[in-house]
């Protein structure tokens, strides 16, 4: 889904796209190694704050937005490609595997587009928490892409807790 996501909008920043490609490749490797398992990729936006802790300056990351993308790969009996759990297409039993596959892809594409619509809608609805733009070249906000390992089942909760401890990120107003 990530690579499909990338097809929709490209920001034009070479470095960013390169980084995204690398992460996607990593994610695909992870998914291929752990089939039939819930996989997740996380995109986080943060601010860097210098904190004086024990007479040392530490740069701390304050995450103000995080996106979790879950991908469940279902192994198809005849094809090796995975598909997300989004697609639920009723396929005639008489259809060939190829047609079935194209149906699934079409359904996946439609649902993916719908998801992107939702993302845009949500991004526009919630803007108050966005910090001042740090004026970076190319990408405006600091971000990181992480692929939580399976052992990090409580990864999301850890992040949430960290956010609570460090307080609210700088508000726009």
């Amino acid at each position: 889904m990530m690579f499909k996501l990338k097809q929709y909008v490209q920001c034009g920043d070479v470095e960013l796209e390169k980084k995204i490609d690398e992460k996607i490749d990593q994610f695909i490797d992870r998914v291929e190694k752990h089939p039939n398992k819930k996989n997740q990729i996380c995109l986080s936006f943060y601010e860097e704050k210098k904190q004086a802790v024990w007479f040392t300056n530490r740069v701390e990351r304050l995450y103000w937005e995080q996106w979790y993308i879950n991908l469940n790969v279902v192994q198809q009996p005849k094809s090796h490609s995975g598909k997300s759990h989004y697609s639920k297409v009723v396929v005639d039993p008489g259809e060939s595997a190829l047609e079935e596959r194209s149906h699934r892809r079409a359904a996946l594409e439609a649902s993916l587009r719908e998801v992107l619509f939702q993302i845009i809608k949500f991004v526009n609805e919630k803007k108050d928490h966005v910090p001042p733009i740090p004026n970076l070249e190319g990408v405006s906000f600091l971000y990181e892409i992480t692929i939580p390992s399976s052992s990090d089942s409580a990864f999301g909760m850890d992040m949430f807790k960290r956010m609570l401890q460090t307080g609210h990120p700088t508000m726009l107003s």
Partner: protein
């Protein structure tokens, strides 16, 4: 007072932000929908090495050079309070029952139909008349600016999610002409949709941004599906490059025609919206190009499409886009014409090089009675194979010949026999099958003559010439059969032999054997539709009864015979070039009008019909 002054200053800054917001949103929308507005044409690739202008850095969204059209539109936007309504319009050429409309359309189909794909409304809604506090306004416009950064990025993403983006990408990626185009109209008011349109339109509203004394909003109504429009650019066979063929200038310098500056830009498509500076009388509706476009509307370079607004009857405001919007399109089309092989798909093949010829069979007869497949010229004449001048002058070995018709049983992309000569367009069969009018008959007859289905060894190549005056436009092709054998099969001695004028005898005789070729002018056959058989028969008879040719290597006949021929074969008239080669005498005939068409300046193609007669002594 300072307070009042500060408020004014703050509001002035907000106005600047608002103005830039409108420009940026317009730029985003048009850059994602209208290929012609891009400064780099269809590719639209940003020159990453180019320094980013300050004006482009607004809202942290670099889009590249803003086209002048957008700046003009923004300048014309009288009031910042008025909404900016941008219509993205799909322009399609559709058949028109009314005949007189045809010449006005690019592809010659009939008329243009415009459909609004999307309607974007970008506006600043002025809500409050109360001036805010100084501090409040200062923070307010900064907030507005930062939120508009996100809004514009959302807009950028949305542009690529909506259905119209696919159509845009098709236009951008298509290297050839397509039967649709996307244009835009900017206004401060809009004509309401009809009921049918409303039913198919969906709406999406971005969350408005609070702004000083109002708010900024962007909304769109768009067509949910474009499947009704059949927006498919044509898929053509990959252009086949014939690197060697009999009669190419490379092998026969004498025959090399002065290459056009545009290479094989001498295409048979007249761009209606664009005329070459030295357009010739050959740019006529009933030329090859006209008919070709009718059959396949996908071959017209985009540059030919007329500005939408000229044909539009919608009463739009002053904000109708200036015609300079279409400038880049024409430039692109020129570039496309010189480089794209696909444009030759329907056009009779041409090249400024010597013509090709038929060999074998009885072309004149077969064309009457059968829909034959185009023949290919074998590669057996490798050593002497002339080469067609390619569209790209820098590579004279490239061949711009279109592939054979798909109905051709002899067509084989990998065939060794199809190296030389020009193949007829693969659509040529469809000419006969499709809708035809009198203007099309040129094709038919010409195409028919060029075909020889009976003789398996027959080779031919049609030739289109569009470069500078060609005394002779030939190319040669070899044939497995000797020409003598071919003659025996014919009831009349005939056409389609091409030979050099000044090449050595040995060379010529080598090439003469079994070589045939033909060129046909559209003009030659323009009026011959009804009397085709009679005309050819008369020509043959005339040639047979003609006095013996002189023994000189080359000579031109008197104009009298020229007139005679004109009477017989319609517009066919011209010079006779005769020479004698060993036991053969041949007569090369072509229309003087063709000479004009060979002008290098004329990008329009021209068919030169050449009839060769060989006789045994």
């Amino acid at each position: 007072m300072d307070l009042q002054g500060n408020v004014q200053v703050e509001y002035g800054r907000f106005e600047q932000i608002l103005s830039q917001f409108l420009s940026k949103s317009l730029h985003i929308i048009l850059d994602s929908r209208v290929p012609s507005i891009r400064p780099f044409g269809r590719s639209g690739d940003l020159l990453l090495s180019a320094p980013v202008k300050k004006s482009d850095k607004w809202f942290n969204l670099v889009l590249g050079d803003r086209p002048a059209a957008i700046d003009n539109l923004n300048f014309c936007h009288r009031s910042l309070v008025e909404p900016m309504i941008i219509d993205i319009v799909l322009v399609q050429e559709v058949p028109d029952s009314s005949y007189e409309h045809r010449p006005t359309t690019t592809l010659g189909l009939g008329k243009y139909v415009e459909t609004v794909l999307e309607r974007w409304v970008v506006q600043y809604e002025y809500i409050s008349t109360v001036f805010p506090e100084v501090g409040e306004s200062s923070a307010s416009y900064k907030k507005t600016y930062k939120k508009s950064i996100i809004l514009l990025r959302s807009l950028y993403s949305m542009m690529r999610l909506l259905p119209a983006y696919r159509a845009f990408r098709k236009l951008c990626l298509s290297t050839q002409a397509s039967d649709f185009d996307i244009n835009y109209k900017v206004s401060s008011f809009s004509i309401p949709y009809s009921r049918e349109e409303e039913e198919v339109m969906k709406q999406y509203n971005f969350l408005p941004i609070d702004a000083p004394q109002g708010r900024l909003s962007i909304s769109v109504t768009y067509r949910a599906s474009l499947s009704d429009f059949n927006l498919e650019t044509s898929t053509t066979f990959p252009p086949q490059i014939i690197t060697d063929y009999v009669g190419s200038p490379a092998t026969d310098p004498f025959r090399a025609f002065p290459s056009s500056e545009k290479g094989v830009g001498a295409i048979s498509f007249p761009l209606r919206g664009e005329q070459s500076p030295s357009s010739t009388p050959f740019h006529r509706p009933h030329s090859w190009t006209c008919g070709l476009h009718r059959i396949s509307p996908l071959t017209q370079p985009r540059g030919g499409s007329p500005p939408v607004h000229r044909t539009s009857t919608m009463p739009y405001d002053y904000l109708s886009p200036p015609t300079n919007t279409y400038g880049p399109r024409y430039q692109n089309s020129t570039n496309h014409r010189t480089t794209s092989f696909d444009e030759y798909q329907l056009s009779p093949p041409f090249s400024p090089s010597p013509p090709t010829y038929f060999s074998g069979g009885n072309p004149l007869k077969t064309r009457m009675h059968s829909e034959t497949a185009p023949m290919s010229i074998p590669r057996s004449m490798m050593g002497r194979s002339p080469r067609y001048l390619s569209p790209n002058l820098s590579d004279p070995n490239r061949n711009s010949l279109p592939p054979f018709s798909p109905r051709s049983t002899k067509y084989d992309p990998s065939s060794q026999d199809s190296a030389s000569g020009i193949r007829l367009s693969r659509k040529s069969d469809s000419f006969r099958a499709g809708e035809m009018n009198s203007g099309m008959t040129n094709h038919c007859s010409s195409q028919k003559v060029l075909r020889d289905s009976k003789d398996d060894s027959g080779r031919f190549s049609g030739l289109l010439s569009s470069s500078s005056s060609p005394r002779i436009g030939f190319s040669r092709s070899s044939s497995r059969l000797s020409f003598q054998d071919d003659l025996d099969d014919f009831d009349y001695s005939c056409p389609f032999i091409v030979d050099d004028v000044d090449t050595s005898d040995s060379h010529a005789s080598q090439n003469l054997d079994g070589k045939k070729g033909s060129e046909f002018t559209s003009q030659t056959f323009s009026s011959a539709k009804k009397s085709q058989d009679a005309a050819v028969g008369a020509l043959v008879h005339m040639l047979r009864t003609a006095p013996p040719l002189r023994q000189d290597s080359s000579c031109y006949s008197s104009p009298s015979s020229k007139t005679e021929l004109e009477g017989e074969v319609g517009a066919a008239s011209g010079f006779f070039m005769s020479r004698k080669r060993s036991s053969y005498k041949e007569m090369i005939f072509f229309s003087p009008k063709a000479e004009l068409g060979w002008s290098a300046k004329n990008p329009n193609s021209l068919l030169v019909g050449v009839i060769f007669v060989r006789k045994h002594n």
